[in-house]
Amino acid sequence: MILADAWRRSAYFRVGASLLSFLVLIALLQPWLNGFLIGESDPISMGNFKAYLPPSTEHWLGTERWGRDVMALLLVGLRYSLLIAALAGSVATAIGIVIGFVAGYKGGRIDATLRTMTDMVLVIPSLPLLVTLAAYIPRVNIVTMALLLAAFSWPFTTRTIRAQVLSMKERPYIDLAITSGLRDWEIIFAEILPNLLPYLGVSLAISMGAAMLAEIGLQLIGLGPGNINTLGLMINWSIRWGALGLGKWQMVFAPVLCLVLIFVSLNLINIGLEQAFNPRLRAVTGE
Protein backbone atom coordinates (compact mmCIF):
# COMPACT_ATOMS: atom_id res chain seq x y z
CA MET A 1 0.00 0.00 0.00
CA ILE A 2 2.58 2.51 1.23
CA LEU A 3 5.16 1.16 -1.16
CA ALA A 4 2.77 1.56 -4.09
CA ASP A 5 2.03 5.15 -3.04
CA ALA A 6 5.69 5.99 -2.74
CA TRP A 7 6.37 4.32 -6.07
CA ARG A 8 3.73 6.46 -7.77
CA ARG A 9 4.73 9.71 -6.12
CA SER A 10 8.51 9.75 -6.14
CA ALA A 11 11.06 9.16 -8.87
CA TYR A 12 13.81 8.84 -6.25
CA PHE A 13 11.91 5.97 -4.66
CA ARG A 14 11.43 4.25 -8.03
CA VAL A 15 15.15 4.35 -8.80
CA GLY A 16 16.23 3.34 -5.27
CA ALA A 17 13.71 0.51 -4.91
CA SER A 18 14.50 -0.93 -8.34
CA LEU A 19 18.22 -0.87 -7.62
CA LEU A 20 17.84 -2.50 -4.20
CA SER A 21 15.41 -5.16 -5.48
CA PHE A 22 17.85 -5.97 -8.25
CA LEU A 23 20.70 -6.44 -5.74
CA VAL A 24 18.51 -8.50 -3.41
CA LEU A 25 17.41 -10.66 -6.36
CA ILE A 26 21.04 -11.32 -7.30
CA ALA A 27 21.83 -12.18 -3.68
CA LEU A 28 18.89 -14.60 -3.53
CA LEU A 29 19.83 -16.24 -6.83
CA GLN A 30 23.51 -16.45 -5.83
CA PRO A 31 23.81 -20.29 -5.65
CA TRP A 32 22.22 -20.67 -9.08
CA LEU A 33 24.23 -17.82 -10.64
CA ASN A 34 27.45 -19.23 -9.26
CA GLY A 35 26.59 -22.63 -10.69
CA PHE A 36 26.40 -20.87 -14.01
CA LEU A 37 29.66 -18.95 -13.44
CA ILE A 38 32.03 -21.52 -11.99
CA GLY A 39 30.15 -24.81 -12.20
CA GLU A 40 29.91 -27.19 -9.27
CA SER A 41 32.91 -25.99 -7.25
CA ASP A 42 32.43 -24.17 -3.95
CA PRO A 43 33.13 -20.43 -4.42
CA ILE A 44 34.74 -20.16 -0.96
CA SER A 45 37.05 -23.17 -1.09
CA MET A 46 40.60 -22.38 -2.15
CA GLY A 47 42.66 -23.52 -5.09
CA ASN A 48 39.85 -24.03 -7.58
CA PHE A 49 41.72 -22.12 -10.27
CA LYS A 50 45.15 -20.60 -10.88
CA ALA A 51 45.98 -17.58 -8.70
CA TYR A 52 45.79 -13.99 -9.99
CA LEU A 53 44.30 -14.73 -13.40
CA PRO A 54 43.34 -11.51 -15.25
CA PRO A 55 39.67 -10.83 -16.03
CA SER A 56 38.43 -12.96 -18.92
CA THR A 57 35.17 -14.40 -20.28
CA GLU A 58 35.63 -17.37 -17.96
CA HIS A 59 36.48 -15.36 -14.85
CA TRP A 60 34.75 -12.01 -15.25
CA LEU A 61 36.75 -10.32 -12.51
CA GLY A 62 39.75 -12.63 -12.57
CA THR A 63 40.88 -14.77 -9.63
CA GLU A 64 42.57 -13.87 -6.36
CA ARG A 65 45.56 -15.05 -4.40
CA TRP A 66 43.99 -18.31 -3.28
CA GLY A 67 42.71 -19.11 -6.77
CA ARG A 68 39.10 -18.23 -6.17
CA ASP A 69 36.87 -16.59 -8.76
CA VAL A 70 36.39 -12.95 -7.66
CA MET A 71 32.97 -12.60 -9.32
CA ALA A 72 31.66 -15.70 -7.52
CA LEU A 73 33.08 -14.45 -4.20
CA LEU A 74 31.45 -11.09 -4.82
CA LEU A 75 28.01 -12.68 -5.16
CA VAL A 76 28.51 -14.67 -1.95
CA GLY A 77 29.70 -11.50 -0.22
CA LEU A 78 26.69 -9.54 -1.42
CA ARG A 79 24.40 -12.20 0.02
CA TYR A 80 26.06 -12.20 3.45
CA SER A 81 26.41 -8.42 3.63
CA LEU A 82 22.73 -7.90 2.83
CA LEU A 83 21.70 -10.64 5.26
CA ILE A 84 23.68 -9.12 8.15
CA ALA A 85 22.45 -5.62 7.32
CA ALA A 86 18.82 -6.78 7.20
CA LEU A 87 19.12 -8.66 10.51
CA ALA A 88 20.96 -5.86 12.33
CA GLY A 89 18.73 -3.20 10.80
CA SER A 90 15.55 -4.97 11.93
CA VAL A 91 16.83 -5.46 15.48
CA ALA A 92 17.98 -1.83 15.69
CA THR A 93 14.63 -0.60 14.34
CA ALA A 94 12.77 -2.74 16.87
CA ILE A 95 14.83 -1.28 19.74
CA GLY A 96 14.32 2.20 18.28
CA ILE A 97 10.57 1.73 18.04
CA VAL A 98 10.24 0.62 21.65
CA ILE A 99 12.45 3.35 23.16
CA GLY A 100 11.22 6.03 20.76
CA PHE A 101 7.57 5.24 21.50
CA VAL A 102 8.00 5.11 25.26
CA ALA A 103 9.98 8.38 25.26
CA GLY A 104 7.72 10.24 22.87
CA TYR A 105 4.41 8.96 24.23
CA LYS A 106 5.15 9.11 27.96
CA GLY A 107 7.02 12.41 27.84
CA GLY A 108 8.23 14.19 30.98
CA ARG A 109 11.02 12.72 33.05
CA ILE A 110 11.02 9.35 31.26
CA ASP A 111 11.49 11.16 27.96
CA ALA A 112 14.31 13.32 29.32
CA THR A 113 16.18 10.29 30.70
CA LEU A 114 15.78 8.21 27.55
CA ARG A 115 16.74 11.13 25.33
CA THR A 116 19.92 11.88 27.28
CA MET A 117 20.85 8.20 27.13
CA THR A 118 20.23 8.04 23.38
CA ASP A 119 22.25 11.17 22.72
CA MET A 120 25.10 9.81 24.79
CA VAL A 121 25.24 6.56 22.81
CA LEU A 122 24.98 8.60 19.62
CA VAL A 123 27.84 10.90 20.57
CA ILE A 124 30.26 8.25 21.84
CA PRO A 125 32.22 6.94 18.85
CA SER A 126 30.98 3.38 18.53
CA LEU A 127 33.78 1.96 16.42
CA PRO A 128 36.40 1.59 19.19
CA LEU A 129 33.85 -0.08 21.47
CA LEU A 130 32.65 -2.39 18.70
CA VAL A 131 36.21 -3.33 17.78
CA THR A 132 37.09 -4.01 21.42
CA LEU A 133 34.06 -6.29 21.81
CA ALA A 134 34.83 -8.11 18.58
CA ALA A 135 38.47 -8.59 19.61
CA TYR A 136 37.61 -10.27 22.89
CA ILE A 137 34.61 -12.35 21.81
CA PRO A 138 36.11 -15.61 20.60
CA ARG A 139 33.61 -16.93 18.07
CA VAL A 140 31.25 -14.67 16.17
CA ASN A 141 28.55 -16.00 13.86
CA ILE A 142 26.06 -14.12 11.70
CA VAL A 143 23.50 -13.68 14.47
CA THR A 144 25.92 -12.44 17.17
CA MET A 145 27.50 -10.17 14.58
CA ALA A 146 24.11 -8.67 13.70
CA LEU A 147 23.28 -8.18 17.40
CA LEU A 148 26.63 -6.46 18.03
CA LEU A 149 26.02 -4.10 15.13
CA ALA A 150 22.45 -3.42 16.20
CA ALA A 151 23.66 -2.53 19.70
CA PHE A 152 25.32 0.56 18.25
CA SER A 153 22.99 1.57 15.42
CA TRP A 154 19.68 2.01 17.29
CA PRO A 155 20.07 5.67 18.40
CA PHE A 156 19.42 7.01 14.87
CA THR A 157 16.09 5.20 14.71
CA THR A 158 15.12 6.17 18.23
CA ARG A 159 15.54 9.86 17.46
CA THR A 160 13.43 9.68 14.28
CA ILE A 161 10.62 7.70 15.90
CA ARG A 162 10.54 9.84 19.05
CA ALA A 163 10.27 13.07 17.05
CA GLN A 164 7.40 11.65 14.98
CA VAL A 165 5.54 10.26 17.99
CA LEU A 166 5.83 13.66 19.68
CA SER A 167 4.23 15.42 16.73
CA MET A 168 1.58 12.69 16.26
CA LYS A 169 0.59 12.95 19.91
CA GLU A 170 -0.50 16.56 19.44
CA ARG A 171 -2.89 15.75 16.58
CA PRO A 172 -6.62 16.16 17.31
CA TYR A 173 -7.55 12.53 16.56
CA ILE A 174 -5.28 11.34 19.35
CA ASP A 175 -7.07 13.70 21.77
CA LEU A 176 -10.31 12.21 20.53
CA ALA A 177 -8.99 8.68 21.14
CA ILE A 178 -7.87 9.61 24.66
CA THR A 179 -11.20 11.22 25.55
CA SER A 180 -13.11 8.26 24.17
CA GLY A 181 -11.28 6.11 26.74
CA LEU A 182 -8.96 4.01 24.58
CA ARG A 183 -6.09 2.40 26.43
CA ASP A 184 -2.47 3.42 25.82
CA TRP A 185 -1.58 0.34 23.82
CA GLU A 186 -4.75 0.67 21.72
CA ILE A 187 -3.84 4.24 20.85
CA ILE A 188 -0.26 3.26 20.08
CA PHE A 189 -1.10 0.28 17.89
CA ALA A 190 -4.33 1.43 16.26
CA GLU A 191 -3.84 5.18 15.92
CA ILE A 192 -0.16 6.12 15.96
CA LEU A 193 1.70 3.14 14.52
CA PRO A 194 -0.16 2.93 11.18
CA ASN A 195 0.55 6.60 10.53
CA LEU A 196 4.20 6.07 11.30
CA LEU A 197 4.78 3.26 8.79
CA PRO A 198 6.61 5.44 6.24
CA TYR A 199 8.95 6.65 8.99
CA LEU A 200 9.56 3.08 10.09
CA GLY A 201 10.66 2.45 6.51
CA VAL A 202 13.04 5.40 6.72
CA SER A 203 14.38 4.17 10.07
CA LEU A 204 14.92 0.67 8.75
CA ALA A 205 16.85 2.00 5.77
CA ILE A 206 18.98 4.27 7.99
CA SER A 207 19.83 1.61 10.53
CA MET A 208 20.58 -0.96 7.81
CA GLY A 209 23.02 1.55 6.35
CA ALA A 210 24.58 2.26 9.75
CA ALA A 211 24.96 -1.45 10.50
CA MET A 212 26.63 -2.05 7.13
CA LEU A 213 29.02 0.84 7.71
CA ALA A 214 30.00 -0.55 11.10
CA GLU A 215 30.43 -4.03 9.65
CA ILE A 216 32.72 -2.78 6.89
CA GLY A 217 34.69 -0.76 9.43
CA LEU A 218 35.22 -3.86 11.53
CA GLN A 219 36.19 -6.02 8.55
CA LEU A 220 38.36 -3.36 6.97
CA ILE A 221 40.79 -3.37 9.87
CA GLY A 222 40.74 -7.14 10.01
CA LEU A 223 38.91 -7.62 13.29
CA GLY A 224 35.61 -8.86 11.94
CA PRO A 225 34.82 -12.55 11.92
CA GLY A 226 37.04 -14.12 9.26
CA ASN A 227 34.59 -16.96 8.70
CA ILE A 228 31.72 -14.83 7.33
CA ASN A 229 32.54 -13.94 3.75
CA THR A 230 31.08 -10.42 3.50
CA LEU A 231 31.99 -7.69 1.05
CA GLY A 232 33.93 -5.91 3.81
CA LEU A 233 36.08 -9.01 4.36
CA MET A 234 36.82 -9.16 0.62
CA ILE A 235 38.07 -5.56 0.73
CA ASN A 236 40.22 -6.38 3.74
CA TRP A 237 41.84 -9.36 2.00
CA SER A 238 42.54 -7.36 -1.13
CA ILE A 239 44.18 -4.57 0.83
CA ARG A 240 46.20 -6.95 2.95
CA TRP A 241 47.55 -8.67 -0.16
CA GLY A 242 48.49 -5.35 -1.71
CA ALA A 243 46.02 -5.70 -4.59
CA LEU A 244 46.30 -1.97 -5.36
CA GLY A 245 50.08 -2.13 -5.62
CA LEU A 246 49.81 -5.20 -7.89
CA GLY A 247 47.41 -3.32 -10.16
CA LYS A 248 44.55 -5.74 -9.36
CA TRP A 249 42.20 -2.83 -8.83
CA GLN A 250 39.06 -4.84 -9.62
CA MET A 251 39.59 -6.92 -6.47
CA VAL A 252 39.12 -3.81 -4.33
CA PHE A 253 36.71 -1.79 -6.40
CA ALA A 254 34.18 -4.50 -7.25
CA PRO A 255 33.08 -4.97 -3.60
CA VAL A 256 33.40 -1.21 -2.98
CA LEU A 257 31.11 -0.50 -5.94
CA CYS A 258 28.57 -3.07 -4.71
CA LEU A 259 28.51 -1.46 -1.27
CA VAL A 260 28.21 2.04 -2.71
CA LEU A 261 25.25 0.88 -4.83
CA ILE A 262 23.55 -0.50 -1.72
CA PHE A 263 24.15 2.74 0.23
CA VAL A 264 22.92 4.91 -2.62
CA SER A 265 19.78 2.81 -3.15
CA LEU A 266 18.96 2.88 0.59
CA ASN A 267 19.38 6.65 0.61
CA LEU A 268 17.22 7.12 -2.49
CA ILE A 269 14.48 5.04 -0.84
CA ASN A 270 14.75 7.30 2.21
CA ILE A 271 14.45 10.48 0.19
CA GLY A 272 11.59 8.98 -1.80
CA LEU A 273 9.64 8.06 1.35
CA GLU A 274 10.20 11.52 2.82
CA GLN A 275 9.10 13.10 -0.44
CA ALA A 276 5.97 10.99 -0.71
CA PHE A 277 4.81 11.25 2.90
CA ASN A 278 6.07 14.57 4.20
CA PRO A 279 3.35 16.94 2.97
CA ARG A 280 5.23 20.05 4.05
CA LEU A 281 8.22 19.14 1.94
CA ARG A 282 5.92 18.27 -0.98
CA ALA A 283 4.13 21.60 -0.82
CA VAL A 284 7.46 23.38 -0.96
CA THR A 285 9.19 21.40 -3.66
CA GLY A 286 6.04 21.09 -5.74
CA GLU A 287 6.95 17.52 -6.60
Binding site: M120, V131, G217, I221, I239, L244, V284
Partner: protein, 337 residues
Protein backbone atom coordinates in the same frame (compact mmCIF):
# COMPACT_ATOMS: atom_id res chain seq x y z
CA UNK B 1 22.01 35.95 37.05
CA UNK B 2 22.64 36.92 33.46
CA UNK B 3 20.95 34.39 31.14
CA UNK B 4 24.14 33.82 29.19
CA UNK B 5 26.14 33.07 32.34
CA UNK B 6 23.43 30.66 33.44
CA UNK B 7 23.54 28.94 30.06
CA UNK B 8 27.34 28.54 30.22
CA UNK B 9 27.23 27.21 33.80
CA UNK B 10 24.53 24.66 32.94
CA UNK B 11 26.50 23.54 29.90
CA UNK B 12 29.67 23.10 31.97
CA UNK B 13 27.79 21.07 34.55
CA UNK B 14 26.35 18.85 31.82
CA UNK B 15 29.89 18.43 30.44
CA UNK B 16 31.29 17.26 33.76
CA UNK B 17 28.36 14.90 34.35
CA UNK B 18 28.58 13.39 30.88
CA UNK B 19 32.34 12.85 31.21
CA UNK B 20 31.73 11.01 34.46
CA UNK B 21 28.77 9.13 32.95
CA UNK B 22 30.61 7.95 29.87
CA UNK B 23 33.70 7.01 31.88
CA UNK B 24 31.49 4.87 34.08
CA UNK B 25 29.86 3.32 31.02
CA UNK B 26 33.32 2.60 29.63
CA UNK B 27 34.39 1.06 32.97
CA UNK B 28 31.36 -1.23 33.00
CA UNK B 29 31.94 -2.00 29.34
CA UNK B 30 35.55 -3.02 29.85
CA UNK B 31 34.64 -5.18 32.81
CA UNK B 32 31.81 -6.89 30.95
CA UNK B 33 34.09 -8.09 28.17
CA UNK B 34 33.98 -11.87 28.32
CA UNK B 35 37.27 -13.58 29.06
CA UNK B 36 40.24 -12.38 31.04
CA UNK B 37 42.42 -9.81 29.25
CA UNK B 38 45.48 -10.72 31.28
CA UNK B 39 45.20 -14.46 30.84
CA UNK B 40 44.71 -13.83 27.12
CA UNK B 41 47.77 -11.58 27.07
CA UNK B 42 49.96 -14.11 28.88
CA UNK B 43 48.76 -16.85 26.55
CA UNK B 44 49.62 -14.68 23.52
CA UNK B 45 53.09 -13.99 24.89
CA UNK B 46 53.66 -17.71 25.39
CA UNK B 47 52.51 -18.51 21.86
CA UNK B 48 54.20 -15.67 20.02
CA UNK B 49 57.60 -15.75 21.61
CA UNK B 50 57.71 -19.41 22.54
CA UNK B 51 58.38 -18.58 26.18
CA UNK B 52 57.52 -21.25 28.67
CA UNK B 53 56.26 -19.39 31.67
CA UNK B 54 57.05 -21.42 34.79
CA UNK B 55 54.81 -19.70 37.24
CA UNK B 56 52.04 -18.29 35.02
CA UNK B 57 49.66 -17.77 37.95
CA UNK B 58 52.10 -15.56 39.83
CA UNK B 59 52.74 -13.61 36.65
CA UNK B 60 49.02 -13.12 36.05
CA UNK B 61 48.65 -11.95 39.64
CA UNK B 62 51.49 -9.45 39.21
CA UNK B 63 49.99 -8.08 36.01
CA UNK B 64 46.59 -7.85 37.62
CA UNK B 65 48.00 -5.66 40.35
CA UNK B 66 49.89 -3.54 37.88
CA UNK B 67 46.79 -2.95 35.77
CA UNK B 68 44.65 -2.18 38.78
CA UNK B 69 42.44 -5.23 38.23
CA UNK B 70 42.74 -6.60 41.78
CA UNK B 71 40.29 -6.08 44.60
CA UNK B 72 36.50 -5.80 44.48
CA UNK B 73 34.68 -4.18 41.59
CA UNK B 74 33.90 -1.08 43.64
CA UNK B 75 37.53 -0.66 44.75
CA UNK B 76 38.59 -0.97 41.13
CA UNK B 77 36.04 1.63 40.08
CA UNK B 78 37.18 4.18 42.67
CA UNK B 79 40.85 3.59 41.89
CA UNK B 80 40.14 3.83 38.15
CA UNK B 81 38.28 7.13 38.41
CA UNK B 82 41.00 8.53 40.65
CA UNK B 83 43.86 7.45 38.39
CA UNK B 84 42.21 8.50 35.17
CA UNK B 85 40.44 11.71 36.12
CA UNK B 86 42.82 13.15 38.70
CA UNK B 87 46.23 11.89 37.63
CA UNK B 88 45.57 11.26 33.95
CA UNK B 89 47.18 7.87 34.34
CA UNK B 90 46.03 4.88 32.30
CA UNK B 91 48.81 2.64 33.53
CA UNK B 92 51.82 1.25 31.65
CA UNK B 93 51.35 0.21 28.05
CA UNK B 94 51.96 -3.38 27.13
CA UNK B 95 53.20 -2.66 23.60
CA UNK B 96 56.17 -0.79 24.89
CA UNK B 97 56.31 -2.02 28.38
CA UNK B 98 57.30 0.51 31.01
CA UNK B 99 56.22 3.58 28.99
CA UNK B 100 52.87 4.86 30.31
CA UNK B 101 50.13 4.49 27.69
CA UNK B 102 49.25 8.15 28.11
CA UNK B 103 52.61 9.00 26.46
CA UNK B 104 51.69 6.99 23.37
CA UNK B 105 48.27 8.59 23.24
CA UNK B 106 49.60 12.11 23.68
CA UNK B 107 52.10 11.56 20.89
CA UNK B 108 49.32 10.43 18.51
CA UNK B 109 46.60 12.88 19.55
CA UNK B 110 47.91 16.10 17.89
CA UNK B 111 47.98 14.40 14.46
CA UNK B 112 44.38 13.26 14.77
CA UNK B 113 43.12 16.53 16.23
CA UNK B 114 44.90 18.66 13.63
CA UNK B 115 43.83 16.77 10.57
CA UNK B 116 40.33 15.88 11.79
CA UNK B 117 39.62 19.36 13.15
CA UNK B 118 40.71 21.25 10.05
CA UNK B 119 38.98 18.92 7.61
CA UNK B 120 35.72 18.79 9.59
CA UNK B 121 35.51 22.58 9.84
CA UNK B 122 36.34 23.01 6.14
CA UNK B 123 33.82 20.37 5.08
CA UNK B 124 31.06 21.87 7.21
CA UNK B 125 31.64 25.46 6.05
CA UNK B 126 31.88 24.67 2.33
CA UNK B 127 28.98 22.20 2.47
CA UNK B 128 26.78 24.65 4.38
CA UNK B 129 27.40 27.56 2.01
CA UNK B 130 27.01 25.46 -1.14
CA UNK B 131 23.89 23.76 0.25
CA UNK B 132 22.35 27.14 1.05
CA UNK B 133 23.04 28.38 -2.44
CA UNK B 134 21.79 25.21 -4.12
CA UNK B 135 18.59 25.24 -2.07
CA UNK B 136 18.00 28.91 -2.72
CA UNK B 137 18.44 28.56 -6.49
CA UNK B 138 16.98 25.08 -6.80
CA UNK B 139 15.47 25.55 -10.27
CA UNK B 140 18.88 26.27 -11.73
CA UNK B 141 20.01 23.20 -13.77
CA UNK B 142 23.54 23.50 -12.39
CA UNK B 143 22.19 23.38 -8.84
CA UNK B 144 20.15 20.27 -9.66
CA UNK B 145 23.19 18.54 -11.14
CA UNK B 146 25.28 19.43 -8.09
CA UNK B 147 22.56 18.13 -5.76
CA UNK B 148 22.34 14.78 -7.51
CA UNK B 149 26.11 14.37 -7.54
CA UNK B 150 26.27 15.20 -3.85
CA UNK B 151 23.43 12.74 -3.21
CA UNK B 152 25.57 9.89 -4.48
CA UNK B 153 28.81 11.12 -2.89
CA UNK B 154 27.27 11.69 0.53
CA UNK B 155 26.58 7.95 0.71
CA UNK B 156 30.14 6.84 0.06
CA UNK B 157 32.06 6.21 3.29
CA UNK B 158 35.23 8.35 3.52
CA UNK B 159 37.49 5.32 3.62
CA UNK B 160 36.27 4.20 0.18
CA UNK B 161 37.19 7.61 -1.18
CA UNK B 162 40.51 7.15 0.61
CA UNK B 163 41.08 3.86 -1.22
CA UNK B 164 40.24 5.41 -4.59
CA UNK B 165 42.50 8.41 -3.98
CA UNK B 166 45.29 6.14 -2.77
CA UNK B 167 45.05 4.09 -5.93
CA UNK B 168 44.84 7.10 -8.24
CA UNK B 169 47.35 9.55 -6.81
CA UNK B 170 49.74 7.44 -4.81
CA UNK B 171 50.03 4.21 -6.81
CA UNK B 172 48.81 5.27 -10.27
CA UNK B 173 50.28 8.72 -10.75
CA UNK B 174 52.79 8.38 -7.91
CA UNK B 175 52.74 12.09 -7.10
CA UNK B 176 51.69 11.93 -3.44
CA UNK B 177 52.97 9.78 -0.58
CA UNK B 178 50.97 6.68 0.42
CA UNK B 179 51.56 6.49 4.15
CA UNK B 180 52.69 8.25 7.28
CA UNK B 181 52.53 11.90 8.31
CA UNK B 182 55.92 13.13 7.07
CA UNK B 183 58.78 11.52 5.18
CA UNK B 184 61.42 9.71 7.18
CA UNK B 185 64.18 11.82 5.66
CA UNK B 186 63.14 15.17 7.16
CA UNK B 187 63.75 16.10 10.78
CA UNK B 188 60.63 17.27 12.64
CA UNK B 189 60.99 20.95 13.41
CA UNK B 190 59.90 24.36 12.30
CA UNK B 191 61.41 24.23 8.84
CA UNK B 192 60.04 24.57 5.32
CA UNK B 193 60.91 20.94 4.43
CA UNK B 194 59.09 19.52 7.41
CA UNK B 195 55.95 21.61 7.00
CA UNK B 196 55.65 20.98 3.28
CA UNK B 197 56.14 17.26 3.89
CA UNK B 198 53.39 17.28 6.52
CA UNK B 199 51.03 19.11 4.16
CA UNK B 200 51.79 16.71 1.30
CA UNK B 201 51.13 13.72 3.53
CA UNK B 202 47.95 15.23 4.95
CA UNK B 203 46.48 16.05 1.57
CA UNK B 204 44.95 12.70 0.59
CA UNK B 205 43.52 11.74 4.00
CA UNK B 206 42.11 15.24 4.46
CA UNK B 207 40.58 15.29 1.01
CA UNK B 208 38.78 11.97 1.52
CA UNK B 209 37.16 13.31 4.69
CA UNK B 210 36.39 16.75 3.25
CA UNK B 211 34.92 15.50 -0.05
CA UNK B 212 32.36 13.22 1.55
CA UNK B 213 31.66 15.77 4.29
CA UNK B 214 30.85 18.55 1.83
CA UNK B 215 28.37 16.33 0.00
CA UNK B 216 26.62 15.33 3.23
CA UNK B 217 26.32 18.86 4.62
CA UNK B 218 25.23 20.15 1.21
CA UNK B 219 22.29 17.73 1.06
CA UNK B 220 21.04 18.38 4.58
CA UNK B 221 21.44 22.17 4.31
CA UNK B 222 19.61 22.17 0.99
CA UNK B 223 16.52 20.41 2.36
CA UNK B 224 16.58 22.67 5.42
CA UNK B 225 16.76 25.78 3.25
CA UNK B 226 13.91 24.55 1.05
CA UNK B 227 11.68 24.05 4.07
CA UNK B 228 12.62 27.54 5.35
CA UNK B 229 11.75 29.03 1.94
CA UNK B 230 8.14 27.92 2.45
CA UNK B 231 7.79 30.09 5.57
CA UNK B 232 5.67 33.23 5.55
CA UNK B 233 8.31 35.67 6.77
CA UNK B 234 10.27 34.99 3.60
CA UNK B 235 7.29 35.86 1.42
CA UNK B 236 7.05 39.06 3.45
CA UNK B 237 10.75 39.82 3.02
CA UNK B 238 10.39 39.34 -0.71
CA UNK B 239 7.28 41.53 -0.80
CA UNK B 240 9.23 44.24 1.00
CA UNK B 241 11.54 44.22 -2.03
CA UNK B 242 14.70 43.14 -0.18
CA UNK B 243 17.62 42.06 -2.34
CA UNK B 244 17.85 38.32 -2.90
CA UNK B 245 21.41 38.16 -1.66
CA UNK B 246 20.36 39.93 1.55
CA UNK B 247 17.47 37.49 2.02
CA UNK B 248 19.81 34.53 1.53
CA UNK B 249 22.39 35.82 4.01
CA UNK B 250 20.21 37.36 6.71
CA UNK B 251 17.03 35.28 6.59
CA UNK B 252 17.76 31.88 5.08
CA UNK B 253 21.31 31.00 6.10
CA UNK B 254 20.99 32.43 9.60
CA UNK B 255 17.97 30.27 10.25
CA UNK B 256 19.55 27.19 8.71
CA UNK B 257 22.75 27.61 10.70
CA UNK B 258 21.41 26.67 14.12
CA UNK B 259 20.15 23.16 13.30
CA UNK B 260 23.26 22.52 11.23
CA UNK B 261 25.61 23.54 14.07
CA UNK B 262 23.69 21.23 16.40
CA UNK B 263 23.85 18.55 13.73
CA UNK B 264 27.62 18.90 13.62
CA UNK B 265 27.81 18.36 17.37
CA UNK B 266 25.67 15.23 17.12
CA UNK B 267 27.56 13.70 14.21
CA UNK B 268 31.07 14.16 15.67
CA UNK B 269 31.19 10.61 16.99
CA UNK B 270 30.20 9.29 13.60
CA UNK B 271 32.78 11.45 11.82
CA UNK B 272 35.42 10.17 14.24
CA UNK B 273 34.59 6.54 13.39
CA UNK B 274 35.12 7.16 9.69
CA UNK B 275 38.28 9.14 10.36
CA UNK B 276 39.89 6.31 12.33
CA UNK B 277 39.53 4.04 9.32
CA UNK B 278 40.97 6.69 6.98
CA UNK B 279 43.96 6.98 9.31
CA UNK B 280 44.43 3.24 9.26
CA UNK B 281 44.30 3.13 5.44
CA UNK B 282 46.99 5.83 5.15
CA UNK B 283 48.90 4.55 8.17
CA UNK B 284 48.67 8.07 9.59
CA UNK B 285 50.29 8.13 13.06
CA UNK B 286 47.15 9.28 14.89
CA UNK B 287 44.86 7.74 17.48
CA UNK B 288 43.12 5.42 15.01
CA UNK B 289 46.35 3.71 14.00
CA UNK B 290 47.51 3.52 17.62
CA UNK B 291 44.20 1.88 18.48
CA UNK B 292 44.64 -0.74 15.77
CA UNK B 293 48.17 -1.56 16.95
CA UNK B 294 47.20 -1.81 20.59
CA UNK B 295 44.10 -3.92 20.00
CA UNK B 296 46.13 -6.27 17.81
CA UNK B 297 48.48 -6.85 20.75
CA UNK B 298 45.63 -6.82 23.28
CA UNK B 299 47.22 -3.88 25.07
CA UNK B 300 44.42 -3.42 27.58
CA UNK B 301 45.59 -0.09 29.05
CA UNK B 302 46.19 1.65 25.75
CA UNK B 303 42.91 0.38 24.27
CA UNK B 304 41.03 1.70 27.28
CA UNK B 305 42.97 4.97 27.12
CA UNK B 306 42.17 5.47 23.45
CA UNK B 307 38.46 4.84 24.01
CA UNK B 308 38.37 7.32 26.91
CA UNK B 309 40.37 9.99 25.09
CA UNK B 310 38.07 9.64 22.08
CA UNK B 311 35.07 10.19 24.32
CA UNK B 312 36.72 13.22 25.94
CA UNK B 313 37.60 14.70 22.55
CA UNK B 314 34.06 14.31 21.23
CA UNK B 315 32.43 15.64 24.39
CA UNK B 316 34.82 18.60 24.51
CA UNK B 317 34.15 19.45 20.87
CA UNK B 318 30.43 19.26 21.59
CA UNK B 319 30.93 21.59 24.56
CA UNK B 320 32.81 24.09 22.39
CA UNK B 321 30.05 24.00 19.78
CA UNK B 322 27.43 24.54 22.48
CA UNK B 323 29.38 27.50 23.82
CA UNK B 324 29.54 28.99 20.31
CA UNK B 325 25.76 28.58 19.86
CA UNK B 326 24.79 31.84 21.64
CA UNK B 327 26.76 33.74 18.99
CA UNK B 328 24.61 32.15 16.31
CA UNK B 329 21.25 32.08 18.02
CA UNK B 330 19.88 35.15 19.81
CA UNK B 331 17.25 32.97 21.52
CA UNK B 332 19.97 31.18 23.48
CA UNK B 333 21.68 34.49 24.23
CA UNK B 334 18.58 36.13 25.65
CA UNK B 335 16.57 33.42 27.38
CA UNK B 336 19.36 31.18 28.60
CA UNK B 337 17.60 28.05 27.38
Amino acid sequence: MHPLLKYVLIRLAVYVVSIWGSFSIAFIFFHMIPGDPIATFVATVQQQYGYQIQDADAMIEAYREMLGLNGSLFEQYVRYLGNVLLRFDFGPSLINFPTPSINHIMRALPWTLGLLGISTILAWTIGFLLGGLVGFRRNNPFAAALTNTALVFSQIPPYFVALALLFLFAYGLAILPTRGAYSATVRPGFSYEFISSVVRHAFLPAFSVIGVGIAGWLISTRSLVISILGDDYLKFAEAKGLKRSYILGQYVLRNAMLPQVTGLALSLGFIMNGFYLVEIIFNYPGIGTLFLTSIGLLDYNTVQGVVLITIVVVLTATLIIDLILPLVDPRVRLSGN
